[in-house]
């Protein structure tokens, strides 16, 4: 027996198909992050080259370098503005959650409540908020409160409608089981309807997060013009009047960063609350 033969490791038993699957999963995982990053880098580069080579004046389209400069130089203006818009959005979302869930529970507990009020919730939803905003500005003294109401109006409907459907979605046999065991109304809500509604509510929350930001931006555009606005959207609008395009783009980018952040946080909350049991949060094996 030769030395080579003795020390050769046993041929690893690798299922070719399995290996291919593992490799493709790994590639997918990497590509999920690298591809969008690559697209970002290339677009910024193209933007930079276009602005430089075509000698586009900065009051028409500022280059990425100019925008980055604005973010840094105007940070003292942008950061407080971001806080205002952020507070507006989060407060509106919080109110939307409280209002939407409370109303959904009321709807499922009393069909009279649902019959009486649901149409008005729809009307509130389908009326463009931009048309309501000027009225709010007139009737509500505080600009912040008026803006908050605007953002709340757009954010609360997806929570209301999703939670209402969710509360009614409990399995029929489970409902029968609760009847057989003599469950009270409260127990039914707490132990059956609420957990059944959770995935629906979280779906609504994801949409509502984005809408709250849109509502806040719209409100700042309309209401902030009265000279009270200090949020990112008002800053953006003001910059456009002054042809300060560097600041305008900086504000725009920060708004979309906020949108992405809100979406990411909602997704994480949703994943953490459902990962143990709900199909949407499960990784399929194989």
């Amino acid at each position: 027996m030769s030395l080579a033969e003795r020390s050769a490791p046993p041929a690893p038993v690798v299922d070719a198909e399995e290996a291919a699957r593992a490799r493709s999963a790994r590639i997918n995982r990497i590509a999920k992050w690298t591809l969008p990053s690559l697209v970002l880098v290339l677009s910024v580069l193209a933007w930079h080259l276009y602005v430089t080579i075509a000698e586009v004046p900065h009051y028409i389209l500022p280059g990425p370098v100019k925008v980055a400069q604005s973010v840094v130089e105007d940070w003292a203006v942008l950061w407080p503005a971001m806080l205002v818009t952020g507070r507006l959005t989060l407060l509106a979302l919080l109110m939307a959650i409280l209002g939407g869930v409370a109303l959904a529970v009321a709807f499922t507990q009393s069909k009279w409540a649902e019959m009486s009020f649901f149409p008005y919730a729809v009307i509130l939803q389908v009326t463009p908020v931009i048309a309501i905003a000027p009225l709010l500005q007139i009737y509500v003294e505080s600009a912040f409160v008026a803006a908050l109401l605007c953002a709340w109006i757009v954010a609360f409907f997806p929570i209301l409608s999703n939670t209402t459907i969710g509360l009614k979605s409990a399995d029929h046999n489970l409902q029968d089981l609760f009847t057989i065991y003599g469950a009270t109304r409260w127990q039914r809500l707490r132990y059956l309807a609420a957990p059944s509604a959770l995935p629906f509510f979280l779906g609504g929350l994801k949409i509502a997060g984005g809408l709250a930001l849109i509502g806040a931006v719209v409100a700042e555009f309309v209401i902030g013009r009265a000279g009270t606005g200090l949020g990112l959207a008002s800053t953006l609008l003001e910059a456009s009047y002054r042809f300060n395009f560097g600041r305008l783009y900086a504000a725009l980018i920060l708004i979309s960063v906020m949108g992405v952040l809100i979406f990411a946080v909602m997704s994480i909350i949703s994943h953490l609350s459902l990962r143990k049991w709900h199909e949407s949060a499960l990784k399929r094996e194989g």
């Binding site: 046999n173 609760f178 009847t179 003599g182 469950a183 132990y191 143990k276 049991w277 199909e279």
Partner: protein
Amino acid sequence: MTRQTAPLGSRAPVLAMSHIEKTFNGDVVALKDMNLSVNDGDFISLLGPSGCGKSTALRLIAGLLQPTSGTIRWAGGQAAGDLGIVFQEPTLMPWATVAQNVWLPFRLRGQSYNSVRDDILEALRLVGLEKFQNAYPRELSGGMKMRVSIARAMVTKPRLILMDEPFAALDEITRFKLNNDLLKLKEKIGCTVIFVTHSVFESVFLSDRIVVMAARPGRVIRELHVDTPYPRAEAFRTSAEYTAHTREASAALHQAMELAA
């Protein structure tokens, strides 16, 4: 410890259905003049083609439906926890662990988990799932989910357990295994069961009383007795006695189907 079941005819009454009639929407007669007395320790199968009112009968007993006429009386009145039910689907709460699912009947009576922990673990042990108490339903196979459902139905030591085609959706191997285990369980806790099935084999293997029903209108046409004593094990399935009983039950089922045709 096993509980001895008294012979048929000398068992204490648990529940009596008399002259039960159930009509849906004014014209669909789901049950017509159904009479059934359930006695302590009975294993009753309701055997019949689909649409003959088996599920309706169970839902009436469970109080989920009210009869159009007739009465259902529990001997000595019905108390909380007297009834357990197993549906065709496991009907577990996906957001709750196995142990929390079994806790449900107690929880709805306001009893804390710790105060009934021993009962819950005992029920899970009886169905062979004590190691899975912290698992979520999605982690279990179809047969295991059904076992959890059975554990939940019997955890309150009910006087009567209703089962509506509980194994119909399972593969045959799992089904046989669960049939055997169900009998062992009955042996241990001496429960009274009404079991809905459209399988002749299942009804003969499990029960000592087979109530054969026909459709349109849903009604009882015969009651057969399978007097082979428990415990019945796998060997019973291949015995001459078993074959004779299945032949008899098949004939009754055919008769039921002809009556409806």
